[in-house]
């Protein structure tokens, strides 16, 4: 109760109200403790999927409940939360999850990557490098990297136990023999700490390199599948590949039309039905920060304003 009173001034700024009748961050303290125990185990065994007693949340399973439960078990009154989906703070599900935490905790939220203590994400890792002390929480639909090669949990558990990852390498090899290169675009499997093959969640393989020796703690929550796994700070994370076919990331022939960045992951925007295309940063915060310090893309300013307005939902 005391916590809530202290926090009310912050929630006022957002125009939202604390939801009454529920504990801080919705989950009861016993459940939070259970989740934190699973997280500790996951951190101790990097890349290993730890089963946990996932609860039904007021948001649908498959819509980020694993990440939400991790965030709920970790968040404290002094945290600053950032929630993104597809790299953007303003996509509907990111808005919905942020509202949920604002209304159940009253904690501050931000769009700025550097300012956040907790970052819950779906499908992206921010372009701005994360620093020590931050925690990035991934929403994971299918935690098992071997699932589409072997649908049975009873089998995949054994395969992980024995480090039996031959099928995965065969799949990658078959890609190379058919296409000349590995044909996995997102959810590209990684080897964590030289022991467990893990799913990076459906991030584009562009983001895989950011996972290696990241100073921030990476936590992965799969609510529907009831699994948590983790990559502790500065852990070696290697995307699976072959010596003669090294791992490669996506490249574009374009730069961001808004900020001119040639190093960010780009969203493709269809501008008309005549094949018109535009490429802009998927990470909206990164793009804005760059423009704020004077970087410019190829688009005329008037068009830029219009796109920014639509992207921000004004």
């Amino acid at each position: 109760m005391r916590k809530q009173l202290v926090l009310q001034p912050r929630i006022k700024e957002t125009g939202l109200q604390l939801i009454k009748g529920y504990n801080f961050a919705y989950l009861d303290e016993g459940t939070k403790r259970m989740i934190r125990r699973a997280i500790l185990k996951a951190v101790a065994v990097p890349g290993h999927q730890v089963p946990f007693g996932s609860r039904e949340m007021p948001l649908p399973l498959g819509w980020g409940t694993g990440g939400i439960q991790i965030t709920a078990s970790l968040i404290g009154p002094d945290d600053i939360l950032k929630v993104i989906d597809q790299g953007s703070d303003d996509t509907t599900n990111a808005v919905s999850i942020r509202r949920f935490f604002t209304q159940t905790t009253g904690v501050r939220s931000t769009e700025k990557t550097w300012m956040a203590t907790l970052i819950q994400t779906r499908h992206r890792i921010p372009e701005t490098p994360l620093r020590a002390g931050q925690i990035i929480i991934f929403q994971v639909p299918i935690p098992e990297p071997l699932r589409f090669l072997e649908p049975r949990e009873t089998e995949t558990r054994k395969m992980h136990g024995l480090s039996e990852y031959g099928v995965m390498y065969i799949k990658l090899y078959e890609d190379i023999s058919i296409h000349g290169h590995i044909a996995t675009a997102y959810m590209y499997p990684v080897m964590v700490h030289n022991r467990y093959v893990a799913s990076p969640s459906p991030i584009p393989r562009f983001d895989n390199t950011k996972m290696n020796r990241m100073p921030a703690l990476q936590l992965f929550g799969a609510g529907r599948e009831k699994r948590i796994y983790a990559i502790p700070p500065y852990t070696t994370v290697k995307s699976l590949d072959f010596e003669d076919h090294p791992f490669e990331i996506e490249k574009w022939d374009h730069c961001c039309a808004l900020c001119g960045s040639g190093e960010s992951y780009l969203d493709e925007i269809v501008t008309d039905d005549q094949g018109g295309r535009l490429f802009v940063c998927s990470d909206t915060d990164y793009c804005q920060e760059r423009r704020a310090v004077g970087h410019k893309g190829s688009l005329p300013d008037a068009v830029k304003m219009a796109i920014t307005r639509v992207k921000r939902g004004d």
Partner: protein
């Protein structure tokens, strides 16, 4: 020029308002009360309580109202509320042989102690639309019916399978371990699992999914020779035994439907031929669900009974991992969320693959 899912906060709020308006419908029609739903749509309420795993007819009715009659949405609402509840204690197993019966039928014996009681059932109704129900005049008719049978059978009626049991013709249902029953709602389901957790899982499972799988066993995909030993529906007492008191307290009554299937078992090297059981139990009156559950309980016991395993309904991982409609609808419907980052990755990949193929073709033609 650019319409994206990036609509944000305002769009969500507007959607919620529009939803509330749609739910209420035409304002000239009186608003539906939760009490009306609880009383006049009891079978919907029962399904929501069963699959929502919470016995509370009023809240189930509220959920149905809030969900505009979408029962899976209502089940989700009830589940999300249920997880926030504190567990005050664990009741003793309910004793369905002491049930106050509304209905009790057996398909295996013509007559038996306690008799056959049809009770409130749609079984022998002719499915003709009753146009008199369009107007309110149906009420008078119902008053007359209510006078005929409005009291359940008070005295205890023995269960059919207990009668068979005396002859040793059917396996005993007693579990070796009555204290350490797992709890699916607190711990993740680990496959392979045991019958206690399997039954819990089936009890929460989607009626339609279980029905279809149960049907598949009847059509030869894991056939197990079923007979309805007994279906009973009525009220049972819920008792707790608080440690600090040391005696039983009845905390209330709940309505349940129980189905016991009798299935043939040809015997094995260690066991003589006998009948085996499949068990189904639901809150309220959910007979179809209880029967489907009993058929699947039996088909999933294939390993224990040394039967050949070759059908979906015998595959524990397949049945248990996919029957929960809250999980299934969540994941199927999450495809509505934006996926343009992964789609962009796929686009880039497919373009690369295609340009590779086109290049090869061009080179070949050039030769």
């Amino acid at each position: 020029m650019y319409v994206a899912v990036k609509g944000g906060e305002k769009a969500i709020l507007n959607a919620h308002e529009l939803l509330a308006e749609k739910r209420r419908g035409d304002l000239s029609v009186p608003e539906l009360t939760v009490e009306q739903i609880e009383n006049q749509l009891p079978l919907a309420v029962n399904r929501v309580m069963t699959e929502g795993s919470l016995y509370d007819p009023e809240l189930a009715a509220l959920a149905i109202k809030q969900a505009s009659g979408d029962l899976i949405e209502a089940i989700f609402l009830l589940r999300a509320f249920r997880t926030t509840l504190t567990r005050l204690g664990v009741s003793l197993p309910i004793d369905t042989s002491q049930m106050t019966l509304w209905r009790r039928i057996s398909a295996t014996f013509k007559d038996l102690p306690g008799g056959q009681i049809l009770g409130p059932t749609y079984d022998y109704t002719h499915r003709l639309l009753d146009f008199s129900l369009i107007s309110d005049s149906g009420d008078r008719e119902n008053d007359r019916v209510r006078e005929i049978t409005s009291t359940p059978l008070k005295e205890a009626v023995p269960r059919v399978l207990d009668l068979l049991n005396r002859e040793g013709l059917i396996e005993t249902a007693a579990s070796e371990d009555k204290r350490n029953v797992g709890d699916l709602t607190l711990h993740p389901l680990q496959i392979p699992t045991n019958r206690d957790l399997r039954l819990q899982n089936l009890a929460r499972g989607d009626e339609g999914f279980l029905l279809g799988l149960a049907y598949s066993t009847q059509r030869g995909f894991g056939y197990n020779h079923p007979f309805v030993g007994e279906i009973r529906f009525g009220e049972v007492a819920v008792e707790i035994n608080p440690e600090e008191l040391g005696f039983l307290i009845e905390i209330g009554e709940i309505t349940v439907t129980e189905c016991q299937m009798i299935n043939q078992f040809k015997g094995s090297a260690t066991q003589p031929p006998c009948f085996t059981r499949g068990y189904g139990l639901t809150f309220g009156h959910c007979e179809r669900k209880a029967m489907a559950m009993a058929l699947l309980d039996r088909s999933l016991r294939c390993h224990e009974l040394g039967e050949t395993v070759d059908s979906p309904a015998q595959d524990e991982e397949f049945v248990l991992m996919h029957n929960d409609n809250v999980q299934a609808s969540g994941f199927v419907e999450h495809l509505k969320l934006p996926h343009y980052v992964d789609f962009q990755a796929e686009l880039t990949l497919v373009r690369n693959l295609r340009s590779g193929v086109q290049q090869e073709k061009a080179e070949e033609e050039g030769k």
